[in-house]
Symmetry: C2
Subunit: 246 residues, 2 copies
DNA sequence: CAGTGGTCTAGACCACCGG
DNA sequence: CGGTGGTCTAGACCACTGT
């Protein structure tokens, strides 16, 4: 028996429908490469208009759970494509998705004058004020995975304390809960580099070992840059995963 | 004067409208953080219904050219977010986007029994037949950028010859033109590795130099795997670029 | 309050696919 | 041919924003 749509729910109907269908896919009620009911059938099953049906399906197609074939039908995607990777995630979320327990050791936290390169990424004018710096060793299941250096722009009255970071772990979570700042978009680059003696010591590897360097500029829901993050991952422990479309 | 929508064009109206707006953004007629006309205004300007207007705007929002704010309006995204990166591209397209001229030296081309790992990525059963192997040094402005090894699954009657590859350069272009096979989705991983003596010689670097290893499984418009590609990029010459959303 | 985007309806015609 | 998804219309009401 299909779950039904509640017109009075606070969630929009297309969103409720997407949740119902996604649930059925996760349960295995709908199997890979099998067709789901046609849009006209779904109209009568759930008593919503075809526009709303299509909005729900559009969502699931973009999320990689369904695919359409013109003139044939709408089908369930194979497992592999259902992961929804290449999303903007915090280190904390990333580790959890990989089945590891995230952890950290705080190296430094405080306000600094950002280096020129960082200032440019943050789109700050020359000679502008200080930004919050947080430097941490990031752990996965207790083992060092990388060194993370975050530069964060906050309004004057807002700040993050060492206690916040120690308690919560995830800065994204703090930003969201304390300041309603939601990371929405980011530009990221990845390249190869070699460990300096200091980095090697922190990561417990030999100096000159290969590292994966990620640099990210993050935008809030207001389309303003609020963060520049650099993560140096141990080359032997970390692999970047992306899902590409066209 | 705004360009107009032709109802008899072979392109759908929402798509024509998206092109018109994208063009105006590229021209600078619409500036970053400035609002575009409201959806009701666009209705009268272009004589199409609001649904169609919204479909066009949805497209441009997903492509990163516009952003919406509920109750305020729809605005032009800042330049940086307009690049539309993190798309599924061939090496050839990737180089062009970076402003470099793509090139190649073919090392090997022919049918082989795929290694187990490759066979699994291609979702082929144990003991299945041979697949097409193409190994090339890829160049950007004539300089070695990486070594690309492609394993391609084709139907029995289809094949790609050395001449095809030499003439066209891009395998994706050949697949599209000869077999109407369109790369649509891909899973990609990136990690760090060190150059073996053979790789170092081919890339004209020291053995043990750091490399960026990309492995990609590519799906066609029929949601079937048709390709597994491995590219070893020179760590000092290549940087991976991604755009993340949430 | 008026104006914006967000959701939704009940239709319509088209292009494509399979039998 | 009938059924599928793809596009489109002309409305409607809601939630949110600014003044």
């Amino acid at each position: 028996m299909p779950e039904l749509i509640d017109p009075n729910d606070y969630l929009p109907r297309y969103y409720q429908l997407a949740n119902i269908l996604r649930e059925q896919i996760a349960n295995g009620k709908l199997e890979a490469h099998q067709p789901i009911p046609s849009e006209r059938q779904l109209e009568t099953i759930y008593s919503v208009s075809r526009t709303t049906i299509r909005q729900a399906i559009d969502l699931l197609v973009r999320q990689g759970f369904l695919y359409r074939e013109h003139g044939r039908g709408t089908f369930v995607s194979p497992q592999k494509l259902q992961k929804g990777i290449s999303e903007l995630t915090s280190f904390t979320e990333d580790m959890k998705q990989r089945g590891l327990t995230p952890g950290q050791k705080i190296l430094e936290i405080g306000y600094v004058q950002p280096p020129d390169k960082v200032r440019q990424h943050l789109e700050l004018p020359v000679g502008s004020g200080k930004v919050l710096l947080i430097e941490r060793i990031r752990l996965g299941d207790g083992v060092p995975m990388g060194i993370q250096t975050s530069y964060i722009c906050l309004a004057d009255e807002q700040t993050i304390t060492r206690e916040d970071v120690e308690e919560q772990g995830s800065i994204y979570k703090i930003l969201q809960e304390k300041f309603h700042l939601i990371p929405t978009e980011a530009d990221e680059t990845l390249e190869v580099t070699l460990a300096t003696p200091r980095e090697a010591a922190l990561l417990q590897i030999e100096p000159g070992s290969p590292l994966l360097l990620s640099e990210r500029t993050t935008y809030s829901q207001f389309r303003r840059v609020f963060e520049f993050v650099k993560i140096l991952y141990r080359g032997d422990r970390y692999r970047y995963i992306a899902k590409l479309t066209r």
